[in-house]
């Protein structure tokens, strides 16, 4: 126990990195999910096909592989590109933080695409028609009518995606990001107490997932408030 306290500071630092990755990847997830859902529901056959290929590949491939392809792939490409101008340079990469956030955003974004698509389809057609009849522009219909109603339907499933996203942040240690898994590794090599250290990581993640579940519960109550009152 006192061992855990001794290492509290490095773990806190690592936990902060996890939260940063989570925040960046969450924004990417929502943006990619909305774009993907729009593509899937669009009139263009090419866009629909592209979105379909995207969700199939990113939901059917192990998360680690996607992470490795993005990180090492971009490093090889970037290095080749930079060496065209500066041949003395050996290695250039996208920092693991950004490569990792992008990979997580793309992975969970594929799931969010499906969720948002279903939720958009769940908004009654009459709502959009009524908004149109009232003279709202395309953007206004999207932001004031379709998006808020879609959100309510998507929230429970999207909450699960947030939990997956949080747990997937642990994978970024594989490409060398210095977060809590890394802290635990260092702490283990110093103290040779691997169970204590990795259990610490587990407890931190448990706390984070619990907070997310709590937050999603709150949001759900907020999003369905108008339904509660009418009962």
């Amino acid at each position: 126990m006192e061992l855990a306290l001794e290492w509290a500071r490095p773990f806190l630092g690592g936990a902060l990195v996890v939260l940063q990755i989570f925040a960046v990847a969450l924004v990417l997830t929502v943006v990619i999910g909305l774009l993907g859902a729009s593509a899937k529901l669009s009139g263009s056959r090419a866009l629909r096909w592209l979105a379909h290929a995207y969700t199939t590949v990113f939901r059917g491939t192990p998360e680690v592989l996607i992470l490795l392809i993005l990180y090492f792939g971009s490093a090889v490409s970037l290095t080749a590109l930079v060496r065209l101008f500066r041949p003395e340079i050996q290695f250039v990469d996208i920092p693991p933080f950004w490569a990792g956030s992008l990979a997580l955003g793309l992975i969970v974004g594929a799931y969010a695409t499906e969720t948002f698509r279903g939720a958009f389809q769940g908004v009654p057609k009459g709502q959009v028609e009524a908004a149109r009849a009232l003279g709202l522009s395309g953007w206004q219909v999207f932001f004031y009518v379709r998006l808020p109603q879609m959100w309510r339907l998507a929230l429970p499933t999207f909450g699960n995606h947030m939990l997956s996203l949080m747990k997937d942040t642990a994978l970024i240690s594989i490409i060398g990001l210095e977060e809590i898994m890394y802290t635990a590794k260092i702490a283990t090599s110093v103290t040779s107490k691997p169970f204590t250290m990795y259990a610490m990581v587990g407890v931190i993640y448990l706390l984070f997932t619990w907070l997310i579940a709590l937050l999603v519960g709150r949001l759900e109550r907020g999003a369905t408030r108008h339904l509660m009152e009418s009962r």
Binding site: P62, L68, G73, L171
Partner: protein, 230 residues
């Protein structure tokens, strides 16, 4: 930047050699995980708090933490305890292979446990009441009424969980196992050709995902026969 076709042709047989291990991990941990899921489901639905409570704790712990952390706790962590190192368990727990299977099975067990519970709770109450009224005993109600319907209800989610498990087995490569991902990482470390190798590996996984999806669709079709007949 060019795509090295010769390298791909050279590596694909090596990657395919990793399929055996990936399949073993998938099937063994899928089997143990499913059994564990059934037990967990039973515990969670039990009237006894002493069974319900550990079921809840198990599910919360394993669904609330990353799979990678679970693997590391089992593979690296358990060695911290002398009692484990001295026991007969150590013959298994010092092998990355069994540690991976244990971690995957425990992880899947927690998820499938909740899936099965959802299925059982989704069975129309009127049906069990009708079975009760017909004089079916506890075992018969479970065997002929609840289980078939619950299975049908939980199959889609169960199929998704098996796909998650397949993708999860890629993490076995983090504890030195040479599954498809492990082999791919080894080749990349030597050739530094990430696109060619990792994308080839991804295609192998995509094919396996597709096969699982077809199998689940087929099972769903079989189980839904009574519904189609009406």
């Amino acid at each position: 930047m060019s795509f090295d076709i010769a390298l791909i042709l050279d590596s694909v047989p090596k990657l395919l050699a990793g399929i055996g291990l990936t399949l073993q991990l998938l099937l063994l941990s899928g089997l143990f995980g499913t059994l564990l899921g059934v037990l967990t489901c039973a515990a969670r639905l039990s009237r006894l708090p002493i069974l319900r409570w550990p079921g809840w704790l198990y599910i919360t712990l394993f669904r609330g933490t990353p799979l990678l952390v679970q693997i590391f706790i089992i593979y690296y962590g358990l060695a911290q305890f002398e009692a484990i190192r001295d026991s007969f368990l150590w013959t298994f727990l010092r092998e990355p292979y069994w540690c991976a299977i244990l971690a995957f099975a425990l992880n899947t067990g927690a998820y499938t446990g909740e899936i099965f519970r959802g299925g059982v709770q989704g069975v129309d109450k009127g049906l069990t009441e009708a079975a009760w009224a017909l004089g079916l005993n506890r075992w018969h109600r479970l065997r002929y009424i609840v289980a078939p319907i619950a299975l049908r209800l939980s199959l889609p989610a169960y199929g998704n969980d098996m796909i998650s498990l397949l993708k999860g087995t890629a993490l076995a490569s983090t504890i030195t196992l040479l599954d498809i991902t492990g082999v791919a990482r080894n080749i990349v470390a030597k050739t530094f050709a990430p696109y060619e190798i990792f994308i080839s590996a991804a295609i192998v996984y995509l094919c396996m995902t597709w096969v699982i999806q077809r199998l689940v669709a087929w099972a769903e079709w079989r189980l839904n026969r009574p519904l189609r007949a009406s």
